[in-house]
């Protein structure tokens, strides 16, 4: 659809804005990653050190690899569970019924709650002495009566993933419901009249049209999971040990706890690089479909 550049007019406001607002901070932090700047020593930016920060990060920092490992576990679990739950929930709720329409109304609630409040609340729910969730689980599984959720690496990771899923999955369900709603039902009806079973209808008709929405959900969730900070900060502080310290937490710590600004910038850009690779895959998927 080649036209004369009206598309630039349409793009201009957004592009100019993002360019103007984001250019300085992004550029500044990128440059910072190539310099040494330890706030404790000097309050002005230090000298140029080339790739030293990156080299130190990737070869000399056991914490970084622990954070990377924790991030892989967290993000994989978080994204898979969220997508599975929201896809399943959307298919379930895409029907008439009073319970279903009540459920659809409630879906927005967890998303609008502050992530910090969710993290703190879950921490209280799981407190081994007075936590209501810990007691409920212990009531159902008596062997877990004395487990201290947040002192066990696996359980703490489960808690962190669960709180993030609780925050996002309902909203993702809404998005997929929207996708389902825009699939015309005539094709499905026609297929059913022809005798196709539910699974075949889903696989051959619903899913191909739903896939773009699910792809958006998946990538969006991945981005937010990789950047997730507030929930982890309030739920476990990265503990026990370093079990739930993800890369996002690591970056924050380097900058605001250890005051090593250059190093923090470098680790942030490593995280960004990971996201860029993932985004590259997604773009191929989305723009690959000819219009």
């Amino acid at each position: 659809m080649k036209r004369w550049p009206v598309h630039w007019l349409l793009l201009a406001p957004a592009l100019l804005f993002v360019g103007a607002m984001a250019l300085f901070p992004l550029g500044y932090s990128l440059i910072l990653s190539f310099r040494e700047w330890k706030l404790a020593k000097t309050s002005v930016v230090g000298e140029f050190v080339g790739l030293q920060n990156y080299v130190d990060l990737l070869t000399d920092d056991p914490d970084f690899f622990e954070a990377l490992r924790a991030t892989c576990i967290f993000v994989t679990a978080d994204v898979l569970v969220t997508v599975a739950v929201s896809l399943g929930a959307a298919l379930l709720l895409h029907r008439a019924g009073r319970l279903n329409s009540l459920a659809r109304t409630l879906l927005i609630l967890p998303f609008v709650m502050s992530p910090a409040l969710i993290g703190i609340s879950f921490r209280f729910f799981l407190n081994a002495e007075y936590g209501v969730l810990a007691s409920a689980v212990a009531a159902v599984f008596p062997s877990m009566k004395d487990t201290v959720w947040l002192a066990d690496s696996t359980l703490a990771m489960i808690a962190v993933v669960a709180s993030d899923v609780w925050h996002w999955a309902p909203y993702m369900t809404l998005m997929i419901l929207g996708g389902l709603a825009s699939i015309p039902s005539e094709t499905q009806e026609a297929a059913r009249v022809d005798g196709a079973g539910s699974w075949a209808v889903f696989r051959d008709i619903t899913w191909p049209q739903l896939m773009p929405v699910v792809a958006v959900v998946m990538v969006l969730k991945t981005v937010f999971a990789l950047k997730a900070f507030d929930t982890i900060f309030t739920l476990t502080s990265g503990g026990p040990g370093n079990a739930t310290k993800t890369l996002a937490y690591f970056v924050y710590e380097q900058g605001f706890n250890y005051y090593d600004m250059g190093y923090a910038a470098a680790s942030a850009y490593v995280l960004t690089a990971i996201l860029l690779v993932l985004a590259g895959f997604y773009l191929r998927l989305v723009f690959g479909k000819a219009r």
């Binding site: 793009l11 895409h94 409630l106 609008v112 502050s114």
Partner: protein, 294 residues
């Protein structure tokens, strides 16, 4: 976006896999159970938090006082007093979030339309760059923003927060809306333009109404992101531009997390948002049943 309609007959037309032989009643019942469990999973934590808002601190930390406690309205009162001052923070949050959405959504819609309908050089790259601007963790970006606003003399202003939040939400808004605009068939526009309509009119009168559910989805998303944004608000504001998340985190004191106050603040914050989204859902349903989405 929501497939609710008044007539049972057309209900059935919307249901994928619809067939109601007698032996599927079991499947139905199972489905309803799962939905019920899901509803509980959402409602119970919120219910518990709401309950906490009415408890004294000593009852908050006790399981035996879970349902057996003296109800107190003191928390709801305290959060509006000094030094918490949630009242002014609510106002600031409302102003910042509303302004952000009102300014960002039109810009994003236009950009999304351009990405959806046109082919041009570097389209993929520009799209990627726009989205990638949000890949950087906030912790690393916030200090450069601080320096920038200090130079501009805009520290502790709501305008600064609006600008920051717009730069945060624009990439997501463009991304989401591109998907929704993609789903609007291009043929309607083309035929309208063949008939002589100006493209701007086409966008305003055809694309926007059709993609309205998507626009509203994106608007709600952007509003929520701005509403809960914490780190930038913390660093940029001092006293005039303090927003709700700062108020909420303020309840984490030396004495520990004052959960009863956080809960009180939390329900005061969430309730209006919930009501807002209910109203917005009505909008959805109207635009759907008006038949424009098919």
């Amino acid at each position: 976006m929501l497939t609710q309609s008044a007539h049972a007959a057309s209900d059935r037309a919307l249901i994928p896999g619809y067939r109601q032989p007698a032996h599927d009643k079991a499947g139905d019942w199972l489905r309803q159970c799962v939905v019920f469990v899901g509803v509980c999973a959402i409602v119970l934590p919120i219910f518990w938090i709401t309950l906490t808002a009415f408890k004294l601190p000593k009852d908050v930390y006790s399981l035996s006082a879970a349902f057996n406690f003296t109800v107190t309205l003191e928390n709801l009162r305290t959060v509006f007093e000094h030094p918490w001052n949630l009242g002014s923070k609510i106002v600031n949050s409302l102003v910042v979030a509303t302004s952000t959405v009102l300014l960002a959504i039109p810009m994003a819609t236009m950009a999304a339309y351009a990405f959806s309908r046109f082919e041009f050089r570097f389209k993929k790259t520009i799209f990627l760059v726009v989205i990638a601007s949000q890949f950087i963790p906030a912790a690393v970006i916030v200090l450069p923003y601080f320096l920038m606003f200090k130079q501009l003399g805009m520290l502790d202003t709501r305008s600064a927060l609006v600008l920051v939040n717009m730069s945060i939400v624009l990439p997501y808004a463009v991304w989401m809306m591109k998907g929704f605009i993609d789903a609007v068939p291009v043929e309607i526009e083309e035929s309208a333009m063949v008939d002589g309509a100006h493209r701007a009119r086409v966008i305003w009168e055809i694309v926007v109404p059709t993609a309205l559910p998507g626009i509203i989805t994106a608007a709600v998303f952007c509003f929520t992101l701005t509403w809960n944004e914490f780190l930038f608000a913390l660093i940029i504001s001092k006293q005039d531009a303090l927003t709700l998340p700062i108020g909420l985190i303020g309840f984490r004191t030396e004495r520990g997390d004052l959960w009863e106050l956080m809960a009180a603040g939390g329900i005061l914050i969430t309730a209006p948002m919930f009501i807002l989204s209910l109203l917005v859902q009505k909008q959805f349903i109207q635009s759907l049943t008006a038949g424009s989405v098919r």
